[in-house]
């Protein structure tokens, strides 16, 4: 199964810039479907970016984050070729995780 997470991490001058795109409906719980039924809230609550076993970025997300969330962050202390792990868990207990190599 293809991962729900697409990541690109680039190191330049000691700073790693990471861009991630996650495929997720991020239903807010305020929207109704065509039959008038409320679509239950379904959104990512927690997304972490880990490098060498240490969290370098933690995002707490609510239903007001857009569908297929995009995230960009920057951190120091990593070098080209290092591995990063990006993981998320949503309010229904679903989760996914992927590993990316810093270019």
């Amino acid at each position: 199964m293809a991962s729900s997470i697409r990541v690109r991490a680039v190191e330049n001058g000691g700073v790693t810039s990471l861009k991630a795109l996650v495929r997720h409906p991020m239903d807010s719980g305020f929207v109704k479907d065509s039959a008038g039924n409320v679509i239950p809230a379904h959104f990512i609550q927690l997304l972490t970016i880990t490098h060498n076993g240490k969290d370098v970025f933690v995002a707490n997300w609510g239903p007001a984050v857009s569908k297929d969330p995009f995230l960009e962050c920057r951190f120091k202390g990593a070098k080209k070729g290092d591995k990063l792990t990006i993981s998320w868990t949503d309010n229904k207990g679903e989760s996914d995780s992927t590993t990316a190599t810093i270019a």
Binding site: V56, A64, S66, S95
Partner: protein, 153 residues
């Protein structure tokens, strides 16, 4: 015979590929620290005090990059950056959303106080960025006009 064996190996590889995924799901992140109450609080000031337990003062050292006019309230790009020192947390709030808090980010040591994200906005309103620097809360505000299906006026 060789073909049959090959198919067997392939299906085994496929099967074993599913197993680690399930293990991963079982070892999913612990969301017990997720600030549930802060995510269900309407209003900017009430949400900031629920999330951080203090009031935020205005700061001109927080730069917010958001469109002045958003053609589509479902996807509003928001970038926050600050020159404030020792930042430990950044939060994005949308004043008139049913619950103001859109996202909060932990900034560990070594991570730059920069974040870019996309938000949903119910209507034209202020977007507030909150930054925790040296244990104090600072905020900056930008008004974003939402024109869903309009002509950008």
């Amino acid at each position: 015979m060789k073909g049959v064996l090959g198919a067997g190996v392939a299906s085994f590889a496929l099967g074993s590929g599913i197993v680690p995924l399930r293990v991963e799901a079982a070892a999913s992140l612990d969301t017990s620290d997720w600030p549930k109450k802060a995510f269900s609080t309407p209003g900017v000031d009430a949400t900031i005090s629920e999330l951080y337990g203090m009031e935020a003062t205005e700061s001109d050292k927080i730069s917010m990059d958001l469109p002045t006019i958003a053609q589509n309230g479902a996807v509003v790009p928001a970038t926050v950056e600050t020159t404030l020192p020792n930042v430990t947390s950044i939060a994005l709030l949308v004043a008139k959303n049913p619950n103001a808090l859109a996202a909060s980010f932990d900034i560990p040591e070594g991570t730059l106080p920069f974040v870019s994200n996309r938000l949903k906005m119910a209507e034209t309103t202020d977007v507030v960025a909150v930054v925790i620097s040296d244990g104090k809360a600072y905020k900056a505000t930008k008004n974003v006009k939402v024109t869903v299906g309009g002509c950008g006026g």
